[in-house]
Structure formats: structure tokens, C-alpha cells
Symmetry: C2
Subunit: 249 residues, 2 copies
DNA sequence: GCCGATTTGTCCGTATGTATC
DNA sequence: CGATACATACGGACAAATCGG
């Protein structure tokens, strides 16, 4: 069960929202009521609500209440603000996935890679290239670089399964933060060769940096997607002032 | 000035990180020290740190400290988890932008639009189509639908400037939450006609729903980008367990 | 391996400010 | 104006993880 009380509350409310027990556009019961229901302090409840707000489920309105702005959506390739492995994503969406490893070797970080990734020049890395098939079509080409020092004992066999599972279950390492950047590039020759591009001349490139539980970089990955199969969702909130100057109003 | 104390602390620390006063990979001073420095309660400081953690600046490590994982990056088209208007984005990046309105009319929500956007069938909308030029090249085609009831008095002239500025400054309405979805589509005939696609046969489509301060939907937009000029960043954090079951470990 | 100091994580209770109705 | 609801801030208590002796 959830280690933390606020997390249990978070899950409970999230579940009620998804079940439309708290329907779209309705107001949640007041904080004071929820506090009674869950038997917790105000701060604890508010922490749970804050998380749901960040994920685009709720919208608090001062002096009025907390509005539900979640609506059931179609299946998507990514969850909002959450790290998921390729495996996990497809299991969640009920798809049959196959991975083929087309390259696996030890290399040393060169200048170009260092500037892209943030690894030190000369640091030994595992360079892995994999093609991901969904329902028989080659849709994603992943190029991973893992620190050899931080992820020892990696093999092509593990790469064919789930590297994340190996890292978490076997090495007992915690994956905590990932920074992603999404761009679109013209398809390289190797993209054309390995992927079913279906007439698209371009690929969606998701570049990501992953940090472990100590805040140390251990992975740099370029994930190149066939465009039609790519989808990404995000929720943003408006901050106070647009950076520059504060005007009175 | 920042209304809230935690926000001042947030900005101060953020600025020190960006100035590499707290360098990449270093540990922040302990909470107890920062509390002394800012003269605040622990919770207040922690709120500021939490925000920086969400934005990918910090990585807290229980029992150890808080690690800085921010590195100065190149200019990007979008900020992480923050709502910005087209105008604001380009001012921040020092680019010269021009907007041309190619369509402006009142319509009623039909079935198809209702299912995409969440507006009620029959609800009167403003339908606006605009092309955005950066340094003389047509890079973005925006198709906006605004609720007439919630955004009265909209004109083509305002659309040529900044609709968000009109909404916030004149209507005194607050923009609070935006849900975005990023996909890639083959270029439509109208994309080819209006945009400088530079040989790309596809466009990046950012569909977004925007809610006002009361949690009510007032805008649905499709923003179609020339692929080369598109960039999107995100920071994700790993949650406890992958949904399914809790295994002991 | 244990213990104690340090540091972050969670939770509580309370007081005050501010927006809505 | 008062009642209600969310927003901010404080201070304290204990738990859990890390690290060094």
C-alpha cells in the first residue's frame, strides 16, 4: 500500500475522478469535508490536491471551490509528467511489443556526444541501438548511451528485454528524473533502413537525460519515432508574471 | 514584487542556479541553512524547492542533500510546464514575429468540433485562423476557437495583436490551465498553401484546451508547426509503483 | 555492524490573508 | 457585511535515509 498518507488520498480522489464519481466540471467537496472524510490534516489533503492539479485533473478557485477539469481521454503514448518505460507504456495500452537489438558495444565518450549528453569526454559508455516493433511494424529506433560505471554488467540479452527492469530490480538503482526534449528531424538513411516510415520523410526525436537517485546522469537516449505513432501530452499552468517586469494592474 | 514569500525564495534560488552560483551537480546548502538565510519556516522553503524540483532544476536525496541538476541550455521554443503566448515566447527568444489573420468569423459548434474540443454542440464560437511569421518565414498556422460567451468583443484587429493580452488585460480574465497534446500529421493542402514547409511533408500539431480561472473551457486551438522550428521540453519524475501491484522488493 | 549526527520526508495544528458569494 | 472557501505561513514532532566514526 502507499507509503505516505497523502499518496493514498491522492489515489483515492484520482480514482473517484476517473470513475466520474466526481464528474467533469463539478466542484469537489470542500477541503474541510475531505479532511473529515480522510481523517488528515489540512496540509496533507492539500498536498494530494496539488498533485492532481499539476496533472491537469483539478483547478482550484480561491473563495469558491476546486473544479474537476479531467475528462476521460483516448489512449496515449505518454502519460503526463510520469516516467514510463517502453514496456510499461505498451502493457498499459494492451499492445504487443517486440524489441530487436541491432547494435551493442562499449565506446568512449567523444567531444560531440559529450556536448549533447553531458557525459565527460572519455567516459566509458554502452552504446545500444534497438528497433521497437508494435504489431509487426518497426516504429521506433532507440539509441541509448549508458554509463558503464553506473550500469555495470549490461548485455545484449538484457537490452532485448527491459533495461529499466534490470536497473531497478537487479542493480537496485532508482530512476528519478528524466528531462525530455521533443523535436522533428528529416529521416536519416538509417531511419529509412530500419523503420517503417510509411511515406513520412521525417521522424520525431525524443532526446532524454535520465538521472538516478543520487542526481547523477547515467543515461542519454535518442528515441526516433515514426511520426504517425507518436503522441505526447502535457498540462501547463500560468505563472504570475511573464518573467520581465511586474506591472501594477 | 512577488506576492508570496515562497515565490521570492523560489526566484532567488532559481536565479542562483542559473547563474551557476549553485553549480551543476553540487549540493544545495541544507534546509536548515537556507531557512536561516531567508528567515522563513521550513514548509515555506520546502515549497520553493518543490517547485524547482518539478521544473527539473533540483533533485532531493533523502538523508543526503539536494542536488542541482540544471544545466544551461540552448534557446527553446517552449518552456517546461508553463503557459506562454506566441508573443511572449518570441520576445523571450529575441525574435521578430508577425501575425497575419486569414480568417475571422462567428460559427456554431458542430458535432465534429464538439467531440474534439468539449464545447457543447450549438455553442457560438469565434473561429480564427492565423499564420505566424518569424524572420519572414511562415512557420505556424493557428486555428483557434474561442467561446463567444466567455470572450466577447473579439475582433480581427485584436487577433492580429495578442488575444491573450486582450483576455487578461481588458476582460480581466485569468488563464490558468492548458492541456496540450502533440502529434505529427501529414501536411494538409492548406498547410502547404500557407506555410513555408521547406520540403517537409508533415506538420507538428499542438492541440490545446485552455481553462479560465473558474475552471471553464474557453478555448480550443490547433497550432500547426513547420517541423524544423518546433521544440518542446519536459521534465518527468518516477512515481512509486507502475500502477499494477506492489511487490515487496 | 552499530550508533549517533545530519538531512530530507511526512504529518499535524494553528493563525492569518484574500477571494467569492 | 458576514460566511465560506482556498492561499500562505509558522513551528513542532517524528520517520527514514545517509554517512562517518
Amino acid at each position: 500500500m502507499p507509503r505516505a498518507k497523502y499518496e493514498g488520498i491522492y489515489r483515492s480522489i484520482k480514482q473517484k475522478i476517473e470513475a466520474q464519481d466526481y464528474p467533469y466540471q463539478s466542484l469537489l467537496p470542500a477541503e474541510s469535508e475531505l479532511i473529515g472524510e480522510y481523517g488528515c490534516a489540512r496540509n496533507t489533503l492539500r498536498r494530494a490536491l496539488a498533485e492532481l492539479t499539476d496533472q491537469g485533473y483539478l483547478q482550484p478557485i480561491q473563495g469558491k471551490g476546486v473544479r474537476v477539469i479531467y475528462r476521460p481521454a483516448g489512449k496515449t503514448a505518454f502519460l503526463i509528467g510520469v516516467i514510463e518505460s517502453f514496456q510499461e507504456t505498451n502493457e498499459r495500452n494492451g499492445l504487443h511489443a517486440v524489441t530487436r537489438v541491432v547494435r551493442f558495444e562499449g565506446i568512449e565518450t567523444d567531444e560531440r556526444l559529450a556536448s549533447q549528453s553531458g557525459f565527460m569526454v572519455g567516459e566509458p559508455l554502452w552504446a545500444i541501438e534497438r528497433v521497437r516493433y508494435l504489431d509487426g511494424k518497426a516504429l521506433i529506433r532507440d539509441v541509448n548511451y549508458f554509463s558503464q560505471a553506473m550500469v555495470p554488467g549490461l548485455t545484449a540479452e538484457i537490452a532485448a528485454q527491459s533495461i529499466y527492469e534490470y536497473i531497478e530490480k537487479t542493480l537496485h538503482m532508482r530512476i528519478t528524473t528524466t528531462k525530455r526534449r521533443v523535436t522533428v528531424e528529416r529521416a536519416a538513411a538509417r531511419d529509412e533502413e530500419l523503420l517503417d516510415l510509411d511515406g513520412y520523410g521525417s521522424v520525431v526525436v525524443v532526446s532524454s537525460l535520465t538521472f538516478d537517485g543520487d542526481g547523477l546522469l547515467f543515461e542519454y537516449t535518442q528515441s526516433r519515432h515514426q511520426p504517425a505513432s507518436f503522441c505526447f501530452e502535457d498540462t501547463a499552468t500560468r505563472r504570475r508574471a511573464p518573467a520581465g517586469g511586474e506591472q501594477g494592474r
